[in-house]
Symmetry: C2
Subunit: 645 residues, 2 copies
């Protein structure tokens, strides 16, 4: 007995020592292979297979090996035990087996039909990791990095179009995919491949919403490498960033849409509740993300007051920045909102306010840290996607459904891009050319978000079919569309080798010539931005950064005592210091925006005048900004290269 | 039914959405608090509470809140279910509860007496995370960073003493603690607090080995801030780094020591098997870590050959460096060796070879990345230690045992430091002064490693008592000894404000004066290092870095074809390039070592001569090295400030 016990504890400890090490090692190995491959490809300027495609391929091969080479069938698994005493599934279960108590932790609920799938080997089970790891650990850095590296100037110039594609386009895409899939499902029911009650229209819409999240990371990496036209790049990048957020919230809203009676009939009340949910969750997540960013900005801003100087400890600064940004995500999740949306807007706001308050060292540290985390997380996800094809145990391959999904995805992309571009071109003076539309159509890749949304729920048979299909659509689009980007660019004769800075200057120059009136493009949204920029410049910037006029001059006189406390001492006199690039983006942006709006609409000139009235240093500041901007932009431009390329 | 099902899936999804987010958020919150506190302390130059002490304190408070404020007792937990059909614990258990199948994952085996401890609330259970996370994710960056930031020159000057303290000292400490605890256990048995059969002498030794891992992170941080005498710093740092490795392997060896008959009787065969295990595991882990580092060096070295240039992609370089270092850890774990030892020597070897091959950008990136990871991991562990006091459910507080442990830890430290210092001083010409010995005695803090080793196994009652005791010893030493460091330094009148570079130069200068013969300190180990440095300089450096003489001149003539391929083109002619600081550490180190050995022993001069014979550029290289070295050293010196302070 003594002997046996010792043997057991020895075995147990052994189990303990290797726990997780092998699985992590497999991922490390795949990532190392991927990095070596990228290195090779970069050397040979080989652009047909992007690193993410490579990671996926290696994952696939490894999955194949794990599935068919390692065979250690666990005889016990696959057997369902009855337990009459239990009434619900507790989070921890203690079981007495041959006089030894074992602790089991709740993992998930599984349907009866999935039980057979569990007869596989333990290695496969171990390689299938918890979807919550995706959402809590792998996705946040990717999304944050996207928000953080958003090129604000180009983004805002095309904001109207980007918002249209992201919100309206995603909704269209979702509905079109849903309808087409419903048609296919009906056909499948007709030929007896599926039972009627298994697949509701809401399930189809759910599939539509998750398949609407585009992830053109491959395309954007190539775009950046080739310096493709900045407007096209911005449109695609902006659309894909916002579109992820929209698709995630949409999926969540649809999943909680619960009509009272017949799930197939349209229930207006439930529908409006879902719309309300969508808006509520989106707004709430936006607020959560922005407020965390504002808190970070406030803390990092404090470093100029006499009390303390956080910027002297770049490690602490970086740590705080990192932790607060991640907290934005986690708080939103904990509050039942969407963490991804929160962390996206947190990133955008951090880039706008906090980044300017950071010390030079911290700026680089945070940038490199998020770049690195983004790089790792992205490749882990793509490796895992490859692995999942063979290691996930409950795949349901239905050729008709897969074919339907491929058709639906392309039709939906087409009915998103072309009609919306047509509508946008009615308003835009600087049209979105046909070639751009074709390229955007072609760049509708599906990636990490679609996969993560699909893997979140793989309990019922329809959901498993959706997961399998989503995975295959990701494979297809990443390899085929991703690989075809360079030939497509050549074929469509889209200009490459554009310097984004020069491009912008050329446009700014052409704006002052009266015969070229491209300016109305911006006029459409000018009124909204005048208000926002005025508010931002007058109140938020001085409150959260060292830029802008002192609050004492912008706030009403009776607020002076408060204003004096809140304004950075730098805002008063330090503005003329040269080499001070801290608040350059802000003022330059402002200058550019006021400039452009001043040329177009009347009332804008008033606000320009009022800005100038705040003090002469403001103009000089603008000059300084324009001079220093190149540096800043090159900095920003250099960013996505490392992250996406 | 339909309704219910939907409700269930809704509830399930809700469960899903927040899974892990709240727990992670709590840690984030604690870390943010810690960072803000450090910031405050740094401003007020407050050195009585180090960040790790602060993190622990916040963890403690949070644990208290979680335990007594959140009350959601799970009625189901704590009940043990019988299962006659099962013969052993499968890794996954499927259970049918009211017609719904739930999947449960094997967590651990628990003793019968622990079952009651599980009647706590679910929040507590969630906050108690898997010890494998410590070992696979949190510890590696800390240990790697320690190895990576080891100041090699100072380390090698004191290597003999450091090795003595680390190996012999840890063994002494382990045995002394084991013996004292065995005495206390006997006393407890005598007064009826414990049953004889529960606690063997091997258990006491196990406790002794885990309590022998010192972690003077607090002390070293203060030392660095105050620039305490470099020799004292190096002795403590070197000892603690190696001592962790020794303690871990020792704990492992003792845990698998299984005498054949009476567990209390001494079994020579089993003892020697344990010693063999110790040596085998140590050597194996060392080999594993070093070989990964060599592979990394080879890959990063390849960037000078015409084929490819990895240094042009600093992100890939950093990624590869990070992944290969982590793989060293994981491979060792997967092979049944000790990952911590592997990653430590991987770090040392990376710093020696790979670091020099990295691009300037990658050098900074890797340094900052590991610094940051070290900072986060360290604070997470200390937060968790604070939390564990209240959230861990099976504490066994035994005042006598705790008192015994405190006594044992201090007696063991004393019988480690004082006798060994006495013996070392017999051999050393440059004695270790009494004040240093007192300071080293006082700096015997226990920290992350002791905690991690104790939490690894908390299944039996003795192990739980050990865990509780280890935790309290950590609290006591971190707060009392950590807080008392500055007063102690003042009291012992140990010199502060020493520039490590100047210090070394002063010593080097004094060496050339014949009347001061401190040199014999190094003479003891000179013969070993002459061989090693000769080999390293002639074969390894040229093979793995751009430094050293070309292989064609060091290898026998018949190896020339191979040598020509393997030697970096830089090794032939590029060595005179100015501003090229890549291979500076190596040559300077070499110069210093040859210099010092040349002054002492006869045969060393031969090897110096042979080095010079390889070509004149070698001497110039040395000069260049000496000029550039200052910069390098300041760089290295700046490193621990951020990581430890």
């Amino acid at each position: 007995m003594e002997k046996l016990k010792e043997y057991v504890s020895l075995k147990d400890e052994d189990h303990f020592y290797h726990q997780g090490a092998v699985e992590l090692l497999i991922f490390n190995f795949l990532l190392i292979l991927t990095i070596l491959t990228i290195w090779l490809f970069k050397n040979h300027r080989f652009r047909f297979l992007h690193e993410t495609g490579g990671a996926m391929l290696y994952g696939l091969v490894m999955g194949l090996i794990i599935r068919y080479v390692t065979k250690s069938p666990d005889v016990e698994s696959g057997t369902v035990y009855e337990c009459e005493k239990l009434k619900s599934g507790p989070s921890t279960l203690l079981i007495n087996i041959t006089n030894q108590v074992y602790e089991y932790q709740y993992k998930r609920e599984i349907s009866h039909h999935n039980v057979n799938g569990h007869q596989g080997n333990t290695m496969l089970q171990k390689m299938t990791f918890d979807p919550s790891i995706f959402f809590n650990i792998l996705l946040p850095p990717i999304i944050f990095h996207a928000g953080y590296s958003l090129k604000k100037r180009h983004f805002f110039r095309n904001l109207g179009s980007i918002l249209t594609y992201a919100f309206l386009g995603t909704a269209i895409s979702c509905i079109v995919i849903g309808l087409i899939m419903y048609g296919f499902v009906k056909a499948m029911v007709h030929i007896g491949q599926l039972k009627q009650w298994e697949f509701h229209f809401t399930d189809c819409l759910f599939f539509g919403s998750l398949m609407s999240a585009t992830d053109p990371v491959t395309v954007l990496a190539i775009f950046h490498e080739l310096n493709v036209d900045t407007d096209l790049y911005t449109l695609l990048f902006g659309e894909s960033v916002l579109n992820d957020a929209v698709a995630i919230v949409l999926t969540h809203s649809i999943s909680i849409y619960s009509p009272k009676e017949n799930p197939n009939a349209f229930d207006a009340a439930a529908f409006f509740q879902s719309v309300g949910n969508f808006l509520g969750i989106f707004a709430g997540s936006f607020a959560m993300g922005s407020s965390y960013a504002v808190v970070t900005a406030l803390i990092s801003f404090m470093h100029l007051t006499k009390f303390t100087k956080l910027c002297e400890f770049p490690m602490l600064e970086t740590g705080l920045f990192f932790l607060l940004s991640w907290s934005a995500f986690l708080s939103a999740e904990a509050a039942g909102l969407t963490g991804i949306v929160a962390v996206l807007f947190c990133g955008v706001t951090q880039a706008h306010y906090t980044y300017n308050n950071l010390s030079a060292d911290s700026k680089m540290r945070t940038k490199q840290l998020f770049e690195f985390m983004n790089f790792l997380a992205e490749n882990v996800i793509f490796c895992y996607m490859g692995l999942a094809l063979f290691t996930f145990q409950n795949h349901i391959f239905n050729p008709l459904f897969i074919f339907g999904a491929l058709v639906a995805v392309f039709v939906a992309r087409a009915s998103n891009i072309y009609p919306l571009s047509f509508l946008l071109n009615l308003g835009r003076k600087q049209k979105i050319p046909r070639t751009f539309q074709h390229m955007m159509m072609f760049s509708g890749l599906r990636g990490a978000i679609a996969f993560a949304l699909a893997i979140r729920d793989t309990d019922s048979q329809p959901k498993q079919m959706m997961f399998t299909t989503a995975l295959l659509v990701v494979f297809f689009t990443v390899w085929v569309c991703g690989g075809g980007t360079t030939p497509m660019l050549t074929w469509l004769q889209i200009r490459v080798g554009v310097d984004p800075d020069e491009d912008l200057k050329a446009r700014a120059g052409s704006q002052s010539e009266p015969n070229l009136d491209k300016n109305t493009t911006k006029a459409e949204s000018a009124w909204l931005f005048r208000i926002w920029y005025g508010f931002d410049h007058k109140y938020l910037k001085p409150l959260l950064t060292h830029a802008g006029p002192p609050l004492t001059s912008t706030l009403p006189e009776w607020c002076n005592p408060v204003a004096r406390i809140l304004t950075s001492p730098r805002a008063y006199g330090d503005q003329l210091k040269d080499g001070d690039t801290v608040y350059i983006i802000n003022n330059d942006e402002l200058t550019e925006n006021y400039e452009s709006s001043a040329h177009i609409v009347g009332p804008a000139q008033d606000s320009t005048a009022s800005t100038q009235a705040t003090g002469k240093e403001d103009i000089q500041e603008g000059d300084l900004g324009l001079g220093g901007y190149k540096l800043q932009l090159q900095h920003t431009a250099g960013q996505p290269q490392n992250s996406l390329a």
